[in-house]
């Protein structure tokens, strides 16, 4: 028996074990003591995150269905750090009376989807990929309906489930066409046989549609707003940050390793979808008054930017996408963290409620400002470099008009991000939100995301690390 294989799959195995452990502990705990699960889970997940950083090597398992390498491990680690922050931000909300009985459900469902994402990242064929995709999607529908006594939450769950069924159907249709035309479901074989035939282009479009649903690209995004608004805020933040980041990782891997032979075709598709997504996402975000919906639409627009790096089609593009997602995770979690802290304590999540926030809660306002600046891409915070590298990679591939449109969109987005900053710092309010002190877990989560935004902006080595890892993936 070779134990090194266990180390190779440590992310998936440990997290599965973790989910089981929680289930068992939950069964043996008295109702009064359910909140203990929170700290146990946090501790275990923290260890899991740390273990993830152990060095990794290139290897494959199960005859090529599962593969791993340092870059993939790094992607999983990025997701882990993000999830850790999400968990920290959920603590206050989970401790509420009405959630007490189903704390473990939250963790188990969330970890199941994360395991699904791991498998998608590591998949070496479309079967593993599809299993991962379903595992990553269906439990999220349950999570969205977590507070099922609220109509909106239940509605969000069912909408997500139905639309995801639709998109899975189309994606699966695409996969069967791929199999039909190449006779294989293994990435390595497919990429050698894939050509520009109409059926294969059709298959690719169907596949891309399914991924477009996960990343919420226009026009496959319409579910986003309803689900984001209806789901509990922490689920929304998980959905719009971690789930989307993971999907972006997977998309870029598949694009670069499977469909690279039809790059001239998919670049045109991405061009169109990217322009649509940035523009329509921005147009919707422009007039949102609810902070959750606002962040949801802004994250659609951000997804449009990610496509710029994929179009680049070179190492710089790959690096810039991963770097952008990393930055995006920290920035968006910072923003979501603030919104979540405020809505958990005060129940308010309208932009007007943020008027004069700086006077009462200066630290929260400053963090929110930092996060929004990063999302908007104002130097010298991390978001600027994230966007800069994306634009640079698209420009280096010669897509000047696309970069121009992206810059225009970045400018529009600046407007609505600054609207929130203006509300917090300049607008006067008769009754600003009262001062409150968050608990330790929330504060840790907020500080982590703030530090991430700050450090990534100044610590250029991380970019070079990603760059060196990306080198082996693209030929």
């Amino acid at each position: 028996m070779n134990f090194s294989d266990i180390l190779t799959m440590r992310h998936e195995l440990m997290l599965t074990l973790l989910a089981l452990v929680i289930l068992i502990i939950d069964l043996n705990l008295h109702n009064r003591n359910k909140h203990l699960i929170i700290s146990i889970t946090l501790g275990l997940f923290f260890i899991h995150t740390l273990v993830g950083f152990l060095p990794a090597e290139n290897s494959t398992l199960f005859g090529g269905m599962y593969r791993t390498n340092p870059l993939l491990v790094m992607m999983k680690n990025i997701l882990n750090v993000g999830v850790l922050i999400v968990l920290l931000q959920s603590v206050t909300w989970l401790k509420k009376e009405e959630n007490r009985e189903k704390i473990s459900e939250y963790f188990i469902l969330l970890f199941s989807t994360l395991i699904g994402m791991y498998f998608m990242i590591s998949s070496g064929d479309f079967l593993m990929f599809y299993l991962g995709l379903e595992l990553a999607t269906i439990p999220i529908a349950a999570l969205a309906a977590y507070t099922h006594h609220q109509t909106k939450s239940a509605e969000a769950g069912i909408k997500l489930l139905l639309i995801s069924a639709l998109s899975s159907g189309i994606l699966l249709f695409g996969l069967s066409l791929i199999y039909g035309s190449t006779g294989s479901i293994y990435f390595d074989t497919i990429t050698q046989l894939y050509k520009n035939t109409p059926m294969q282009v059709l298959a690719f479009i169907f596949f891309f549609t399914g991924m477009g649903f996960k990343i919420s690209l226009v026009p496959f995004h319409l579910w986003t707003a309803d689900v984001y608004e209806g789901a509990p805020i922490n689920v929304t933040s998980y959905l719009s940050v971690i789930s989307k980041g993971a999907a972006a990782f997977i998309l870029i891997i598949v694009m670069f390793t499977v469909f690279n032979t039809i790059a001239p075709v998919y670049n045109n598709i991405l061009y169109l979808i990217s322009v649509l997504t940035m523009t329509i996402g921005n147009l919707f975000a422009l007039r949102q008054k609810n902070m959750k919906r606002f962040l949801a639409f802004s994250s659609i627009a951000q997804a449009g930017f990610i496509l710029l790096g994929i179009i680049g089609g070179n190492i710089m593009g790959m690096t810039s996408v991963i770097y952008f997602v990393l930055v995006y995770i920290f920035s968006n979690l910072g923003a979501f963290g603030v919104v979540s802290a405020i809505s958990t304590v005060t129940g308010k999540d309208s932009m007007d409620d943020y008027d004069g926030l700086y006077a009462t809660n200066p630290k929260l306002s400053l963090l929110m400002m930092l996060a929004l600046f990063s999302l908007a891409g104002i130097p010298p915070v991390a978001g600027f470099f994230g966007k800069f590298f994306l634009f640079a990679s698209a420009a280096s591939a010669g897509y000047y008009w696309l970069v121009f449109i992206a810059v225009l969109n970045a400018t529009i987005s600046l407007y609505y991000y600054l609207l929130v900053v203006k509300a917090m710092f300049i607008n006067k309010s008769e009754e600003p939100l009262a001062y409150f002190k968050s608990d330790l877990a929330t504060r840790t989560g907020l500080v982590l995301s703030g530090l991430g935004i700050f450090i990534l902006g100044f610590w250029s080595q991380i970019y070079e690390l990603i760059n060196s890892l990306s080198f082996g993936i693209i030929h």
């Binding site: 909408k159 139905l162 639309i163 639709l166 998109s167 189309i170 109409p198 282009v201 059709l202 479009i205 169907f206 891309f208 549609t209 477009g212 649903f213 226009v218 026009p219 496959f220 319409l222 579910w223 707003a225 309803d226 075709v265 045109n268 598709i269 169109l272 329509i280 147009l283 919707f284 422009l286 007039r287 529009i412 250029s460 970019y463 070079e464």
Partner: protein, 639 residues
């Protein structure tokens, strides 16, 4: 070779005290903030001294040239393979010398400020700004490449802006002065930036060691006229010098310096005497091999700008009545000396006498000019006025200030054996061997300097018996001790063997006092002092009569030759009326109109797409599938 990595701490300590005082200063007792700032700077000073000792003496084997060492360097921004921006610490004779100058003066100013700023509401804010400034200035001199220098150059500009405008809440003039200083130097910095871009484009490097290598690419490919008969390298160095001229208040960028005297006096001592204003000199000295070997024409410009500024400022200084403004113009004049010395210098050995002299004068000037400003601060502290007319006969009330001020005056006047004599003598010798006309100008300026300094001295400490509302009293010990330390430095700094330590190529050379130049220069200094003594020691009507007979000249000089008015005329009457107003119209009606139109369209579009987001699931599914089908139609059938 000694290890100098610890020099990294010299700028970092003030940076941390800045953070500490900036973030937590308002929660501390004021005296606590002062002590933290001062002790931080003290630690930096000790490190700087030990670095200097080990670089120049203990860690250096006698007889070998001083080399430049990169004590620390990290790549900061890796943009492309050819273009990487580093941050680091460069140790060489001039940077070590500047470390000593900056930390010494800054430490003295810190100590002095504890007394001077006592009771001020923004005490801890003041010390955090002082720390920020010290950090920026130290980072500037330690820069390993010209881009890093530019970053700290701008930081210095910002922190000096904050310090000049420190009294923003009670003096609108301080706000105006800080804006003026910032904007004028910003204009000059634009030149600096253009110069950097041209230079690095031309040579492919930002790094000082590569740039200034006598056999390196920068100097090797100097030739070839690019524009108006000058090479690209010459043009880039002239542009870089424009930046230096802005910070160093050289003509015609000097207009911000007198106004900057609105800042607290210790700030003037730190920024406008010893550190920031010599940044331009330092910049030229840093790039000196490139100037001397690659672009002698640019050096010629430096020499003439320096020479003209020194004469121009000395004449104005004779007519000013605000003691700090006299000192400001005197600073400008002395920096002109330093620029001139660089400008007439050659490279290597005795040819590089001017380079050595310039740095020598920079060193001694830092001591005695900081002393003069701090002394002036003590006087202002005692009589609550800046005008000479409100002073007189103060020698009885302020004995320590009086003696130290006198020492500083004798030093700047170039009377032996004070340090100013030695350094000024070297400059005059360098000028004498290079350009007789420049020598004549500087010779005249030496006399003028002695005259206006002693006019100031007599006006403050002798002269008429002014009646004071409150009896002026000597400043507290915490203010007088820095004066005494600096006076000690002013007296003895001249005996440092600069010709062995700080030379253009790192090799020492023999240098002796050239009595043929020294004796006449001392004589003209004495003449200046004697004239000032006759005119100003006792109250008399003579000065006014002389001023009356030189009516127009005096008025012109008193109004600083109307340079400010020229600037105002050009900006208000020409630029604003004929350029800004049409642009503003265009901006308001055409650009804004277009932008508003676009914004309006965006909002309209936002409402138009609203219908998509209906909440109806079947419609979502319809759009979803239609999207897929349209993609298929386009990319399978059409493309």
């Amino acid at each position: 070779m000694a290890d100098f990595t610890y020099t990294l701490l010299i700028p970092l300590i003030p940076f941390f005290t800045f953070l500490l005082l900036g973030l937590a200063g308002h929660k501390m007792k004021p005296i606590m903030a002062g002590l933290i700032g001062t002790s931080g700077l003290g630690a930096s000073a000790i490190l700087a001294y030990s670095a200097a000792i080990s670089y120049f003496w203990t860690g250096h084997s006698a007889g070998t040239p001083y080399t430049s060492i990169k004590a620390f360097e990290i790549p900061w921004l890796h943009l492309t393979d050819k273009l990487t921006i580093h941050l680091g610490v460069l140790i060489d004779p001039i940077s070590v010398m500047m470390l000593v100058v900056i930390t010494t003066v800054s430490l003295m100013v810190h100590i002095y400020s504890i007394g001077y700023m006592k009771g001020d509401t923004g005490f801890s804010r003041f010390f955090s700004f002082l720390s920020l400034f010290s950090f920026s200035m130290l980072g500037l001199v330690l820069a390993t490449n010209i881009f890093q220098m530019y970053i700290f150059w701008e930081l210095v500009g910002v922190s000096s802006f904050l310090l000049i405008g420190y009294y923003y809440y009670e003096k609108p003039s301080a706000v105006a002065a800080s804006k003026k200083a910032f904007i004028v130097t910003r204009f000059a910095d634009l030149g600096f930036l253009i110069g950097i871009l041209m230079l690095s484009f031309n040579t492919g490097t930002f790094d000082f060691q590569t740039l200034t290598d006598p056999h390196g690419p920068a100097i090797a490919q100097a030739g070839g006229a690019a524009f108006m008969g000058l090479s690209l390298l010459t043009w880039s160095l002239i542009f870089i010098f424009v930046g230096g001229a802005g910070k160093s208040a050289m003509f015609p960028f000097h207009i911000w310096l007198p106004d900057a005297m609105e800042g607290p006096t210790p700030v003037s001592a730190l920024i406008h005497a010893a550190t920031m204003v010599v940044a331009g000199v330092y910049l030229v000295a840093r790039l000196f091999p490139v100037f001397a070997l690659g672009a002698p024409d640019a050096l010629y410009v430096v020499a003439w700008i320096g020479g003209f500024s020194s004469l121009f400022a000395a004449v104005i200084a004779c007519t000013q009545t605000d003691i700090k403004r006299v000192l400001a113009f005197s600073t400008m004049s002395q920096i002109g000396y330093m620029m001139l010395a660089l400008g007439v210098s050659g490279y290597g050995g005795e040819e590089g006498l001017g380079f050595m002299a310039s740095n020598f004068h920079l060193f001694t000037h830092a001591m005695f000019k900081a002393l003069l400003f701090l002394g002036a601060g003590a006087v202002i502290h005692a009589v609550h006025s800046n005008e000479i007319g409100d002073m007189g006969n103060l020698r009885k009330f302020l004995p320590v200030t009086h003696i130290t001020f006198l020492i500083a005056c004798l030093t700047i006047a170039g009377i032996p054996p004070f340090s100013g004599f030695f350094s000024k003598d070297e400059i005059l010798v360098a000028a004498f061997h290079s350009n007789k006309l420049l020598f004549a100008i500087e010779y005249l300026v030496a006399g003028l300097t002695a005259f206006y300094m002693f006019r100031l001295y007599y006006g403050i400490f002798w002269g008429k018996n002014t009646h004071y509302h409150h009896t002026p009293h000597e400043a507290p010990k915490v203010m007088t001790i820095p004066l005494m330390i600096l006076a000690f430095g002013s007296v003895f700094a001249g005996f440092l063997p600069f010709h062995d330590l700080v030379t253009s190529d790192g090799k020492g050379f023999e240098s002796a006092i050239d009595w043929f130049v020294a004796i006449p220069s001392v004589l003209i200094g004495v003449v200046g002092i004697v004239i000032a003594t006759i005119l100003y020691k006792k109250e008399s009507a003579m000065p006014d009569r002389i001023a009356g007979s030189l009516k127009y000249l005096h008025r012109w000089a008193h109004r600083k030759f109307y340079i400010d008015e020229v600037y105002l005329f050009v900006t208000r009457k020409i630029i604003f009326r004929y350029i800004s107003v049409p642009i503003a119209w265009f901006d308001r009606h055409i650009v804004d109109g277009t932008m508003n139109g676009i914004a309006g369209m965006t909002v309209y579009a936002a409402y138009a797409v609203k219908g998509l987001q209906s909440g109806k699931l079947h419609q979502y599914a319809f759009v979803f599938v239609s999207g897929a089908v349209i993609l298929v139609l386009i990319f399978v059938y059409l493309v």
